[in-house]
Symmetry: C2
Amino acid sequence: MEVLARKLQTLAGIRDVDLAVLSAASSDVRTIEPGEDIISEGENPETVFLVLSGFAFRYKLTEEGDRQVFAYLLPGDFCDLHVALLGRMDHSIGTISPCRIAVISRQTIITLTEEHPRIARALWLCNLVDGATLREWLLNIGRRPAHQRLAHLFCEIYARIAAVGLTTPGSFSLPIPQAVLADTVGMSDVHVNRSLRVLREAGLVTFRKQIVSIPNVPELESYAGFDPAYLHLRPPEDRLAFETGAD
Amino acid sequence: MEVLARKLQTLAGIRDVDLAVLSAASSDVRTIEPGEDIISEGENPETVFLVLSGFAFRYKLTEEGDRQVFAYLLPGDFCDLHVALLGRMDHSIGTISPCRIAVISRQTIITLTEEHPRIARALWLCNLVDGATLREWLLNIGRRPAHQRLAHLFCEIYARIAAVGLTTPGSFSLPIPQAVLADTVGMSDVHVNRSLRVLREAGLVTFRKQIVSIPNVPELESYAGFDPAYLHLRPPEDRLAFETGAD
DNA sequence: CGCGTGATTGAAAAGCATCAACCCAAGTGG
DNA sequence: CCACTTGGGTTGATGCTTTTCAATCACGCG
């Protein structure tokens, strides 16, 4: 549960007392094999899932069978918090690597958010950042050419990982095949491959053996038109004052 | 304020008591001319805006100056609820028709959601639906061909308007130029125009003089691969029980 | 060694953007 | 009252971007 703790703490300034309550909420832990769905579109489950370890992603299929990826889920991310309120999955969540998943009952979330407005706001906040990211993806897919699209995606993931505490500066592990990348940026796998080659030969990014390497981060960011503001990684001071209860 | 009342009531089963509190929150009303920004990217305002009448839209520009539209805002929609929590606009909101806007202080929202968990959840819920819609737009732009994209957008807007209470079955007013439509579905205005012609000649939809006409709604929905589930227009019974406090 | 998944490359076709006119209706000002 | 302007909408021609189809390659694994 430490992963969630850290996330909420940096994002919303959640206090230890609240965290204790949250930690007690998880009833059990499940392990999911790679390539399986944690939860599928149309389900109406009585539980909510939280990624503890592994790599998962949100997606949906068109009637023609084309897939669109909406988000990558890392440890500390809720899979389907909306289910607790909306009650129906409008998309699926699949795993890429083996995942350990914490299971929390829906009723727990509901009473938790009702009795602890600070937790409710922290979770809401996670949600808002997800929304902002979704908007940026829409801009990315709708209005940027292929190679810039990929560059932008790499910049974003790098920024998110770096914010959590990066091991190797300038590179990170991205354990997904090019086809998933294609379904993320709305292109064909072939074209992803070609665009990657262009980026590689331009010396901007390398994506080999599931490792992304960025020789010059500012250069790639400038190339991609990347501005990390939408990730809201560093909350402004005046908000923190509210969130923490100004201690 | 009735527009918001109706929205929250159908979406979250908000009770009259809560509504009274919410109504008292608005401090003043402002009028914005068409073509202006209600609020712009990068601002960090101390107020939150609610559309009372008129037609507005969420958007952002790339560095190259291309625009991507994220959502259309109708009466009853919050412009920037996230600002109250995130503190910084990561996109802009512009008007198309003249808009009347209710101004609510950020502090009001914060204390309101802290003291009234039911309101907090109702607002959160609005947010979740927005997120679901955003995902669907991503799927639409990322994975559907041009004419299907437009068809899907028309289906969605029709469904949303119909859910609120439609005057004319099979048609609705969409007071935007084709160029905005283009920035919504991620295509050029010229190609939007041509695709509209295809749809018109196929007898699926007509978009003339800011009026969208759908001769056969189910047919268009099937053509576009439209499934309204993601709009969460009719909440399942079991959720309502929670939301209303099970009266 | 054979097999399967994912990466890579080539060639052809389709989709879409861009550029550049032109049309049309609704103002606006002389 | 009309010439003029202006913001959309519509259309054609051209070329780039991206997809599709197909084949080949690389590598880890039973």
